[in-house]
């Protein structure tokens, strides 16, 4: 039986999700994700042409409210939760010059 997901696939997906994996983790996750995807093969094999998708159990459209100003969360309280703050803004390490 061909593997449902390769070690390279898992490494690629981890990079997309911004996770670093050790070699041992890469082996473990490749096997475990493969088993779950193998179980999902029943769905993959199903003929559902012409069946519309359901993304949400209770489709609500145009959820509106009166256009009035309400209290919002205090900015200082929000900033107090941040790991690093400067001049009322979230502070992060350099973003320019890194690999895309």
């Amino acid at each position: 039986m061909a593997a449902r997901i390769s070690r390279d696939d898992v490494a690629h997906v981890a990079r997309l999700a911004r996770l670093s994996l050790t070699a041992a983790e890469l082996d473990m996750f490749t096997e475990q994700l493969g088993a779950v995807l193998e179980h999902a093969a029943d769905v993959e094999a199903l003929d559902v042409d012409g069946v519309p998708p359901t993304a949400h159990p209770y489709p609500l459209v145009n959820v509106l409210r009166d256009d009035v100003v309400n209290d919002s969360i205090d900015r200082d309280e929000v900033l107090r939760a941040a790991p690093s703050v400067e001049a009322n803004q979230f502070r992060v390490p350099p973003i320019l010059g890194e690999e895309p």
Binding site: I5, D9, V10, V13, A14, L16, A17, R18, L19, S20, L21, E25, F29, Q32, L33, A35, V36, L37, H39, A40, A41, D42, V43, E44, L46, V48, V51, P52, P53, T54, A55, H56, P57, Y58, L60, V63, R65, I73, D74, E77, V78, A81, A82, P83, S84, F90, V92, P93, P94, I95, G97, E98, E99
Partner: protein, 472 residues
């Protein structure tokens, strides 16, 4: 042990003080919490102060509400202003929410006293509460066994007598399955009936908050307190719905109840299947008409769920990047900081699901996995609609087995995922379901049976749950 309804009446009549009731529960926690580990945080001082305030109001002639002086335990993924909310994850280290979840505000407005924040599988991902960054919760009936999950702390707290009521969240069975394994009542409402505002998101189209209690009437009361439209949750159902408590005792005479064949035999332990059969007979003796019904697409439930839920999770958990709150592990660039933070902050099950979801949504696989799973969801809606043309309610086991040994499934994620085979369908179709204790299995551990209802069918469902409880 008094019910929440009795406790509230005692405090309102002045027979007992809220303080005395809180102290009694804190004593129970002191006695067994080391062994059970239901809580991430016990709010002893705040609960005593809250109880004193309730007592002052009662003494002043006020009626604080239907939960006057009743201690309530909260799953630690419900935001509490100024009180740490961890989701049992390292990534939220040091974070205290700047606001209360709507359900927390509603509890306060009903006179309840928050007694603590309960342990869960990290970000509610799991079926055993073994995936917590803060250690496992143990089943109060047998501490070598899991309490179920992900709301295992809430279920264990109620089962151990630490609190008469608790709230959990249910994305694929995370209230009902631990309720079954711990021998308490647990209920997932219709999607949109309880506001998700302040519930830390796992899979937004599946998540619902719901009650745990020792009795069906207590669960109904807590559901009535937390249900209702909320402008701050755009998926909240706008229609107001009548409370379920007043009609609880109306019985099941003439109700048609269908035993779901696909969820009642294959993969279900014989002792559990036997209890479900006994429940069917008990309902029949109470006046219901019980038959068998096929809901074919439920056999695809676990597969569809483990594509949809991780896909939504991979998107929801992208917010934990070390920028605005919680853990940050510093690095030279922002991109590296995000990667080191997420790698250090998330446990293995959360990483597994994020990667599974990212894969299911990625170019080349979207159609085969996520897109197909959404179509299966449509098939399930159609199948349930057809089933509810013949039956008012559906009956299944809640979980395939009684509580399993700690560590039994930790190395086999797929085996763990199959613990939710009976509970997942309700989440995928947004319908309400309740687990009611109904005797014990061969090992003497609790068995739960599940009643499912069409959307907004909570009243009928609670009536049948009360009838089952009376017959158990």
């Amino acid at each position: 042990m008094s019910t929440a309804i009795e406790l509230s009446a005692q405090v309102r009549s002045g027979e007992r003080s809220a303080r005395e009731i809180v102290d009694q529960h804190l004593t129970a926690i002191d006695g067994r919490e080391d062994e059970v580990h239901a809580f991430n945080l016990v709010l002893a001082d705040a609960a005593r102060a809250g109880a004193d305030e309730v007592d002052r109001r009662v003494a002043a002639g006020e009626d604080p509400g239907p939960l006057t002086g009743v201690p309530v335990a909260l799953k630690d993924n419900l935001c509490t202003r100024g009180v740490p909310t961890t989701c049992s994850s390292r990534i939220l280290e040091g974070w205290t929410p700047p606001y209360d979840a709507t359900v927390v505000s509603k509890l306060a407005a009903a006179g309840a006293v928050i007694i603590g924040k309960t342990n869960l599988d990290e970000f509610a991902m799991g079926s055993s509460t073994e995936n917590s960054a803060f250690g496992v919760t143990r089943n109060p009936h047998d501490t070598t066994r899991v309490p179920g999950g992900s709301s295992g702390g809430s279920a264990a707290a109620v089962a151990a007598g630490f609190a008469p009521l608790a709230l959990g969240s249910d994305t694929g069975g995370s209230i009902r399955q631990p309720a079954a394994l711990c021998g308490v009542v647990g209920m997932k409402p219709t999607y949109g009936r309880v506001s998700r505002y302040g519930l830390v998101a796992f899979a937004s189209s599946l998540d619902q908050i719901g009650p745990f209690a020792n009795t069906v009437a207590d669960a109904a009361l807590l559901f009535d307190v937390i249900a209702g439209h909320d402008q701050r949750d755009t998926t909240s159902i706008p229609e107001n719905s009548p409370p379920v408590s007043p009609t609880l005792a109306e019985g099941v005479d003439g109700l048609r109840i269908g035993l779901v064949t696909e969820l009642s035999s294959d993969g279900i332990a014989a002792d559990v299947a036997g209890r479900v059969q006994a429940a069917a007979e008990a309902l029949e003796q109470s006046g219901a008409k019980v038959g068998e019904i096929s809901v074919p697409s439920t056999t695809f439930g676990v597969s569809a769920y483990y594509l949809i839920a991780p896909a939504e999770a991979s998107s929801n958990l992208a917010r934990y990047d070390g920028v605005r709150y919680g853990l940050r592990v510093d690095a030279d660039t922002t991109g590296e900081m995000m990667q080191t933070t997420r790698t250090a902050g998330f446990g293995p099950e959360v990483k597994r699901r994020i990667m599974l979801g990212t894969y299911a949504l990625s170019a080349g696989y979207w159609d085969a996995y996520y897109g197909k799973a959404l179509k299966v969801r449509t098939l399930m809606v159609r199948d349930f609609d057809a089933a509810y043309e013949q039956y008012d309610l559906l009956l299944t086991p809640t979980a395939p087995t009684t509580a399993f040994e700690i560590g039994a499934k930790t190395d086999d994620p797929l085996a763990m995922y199959l613990s939710d085979v009976c509970t997942i369908p309700s989440n995928l179709v947004g319908q309400p379901a309740i687990s009611v204790p109904f005797g014990v299995g061969h090992d003497g551990l609790p068995v739960g049976v599940q009643l499912m209802a069409p959307p907004m069918g909570e009243s009928t469902m609670f009536r049948a749950a009360a009838a089952l409880e009376a017959a158990s």
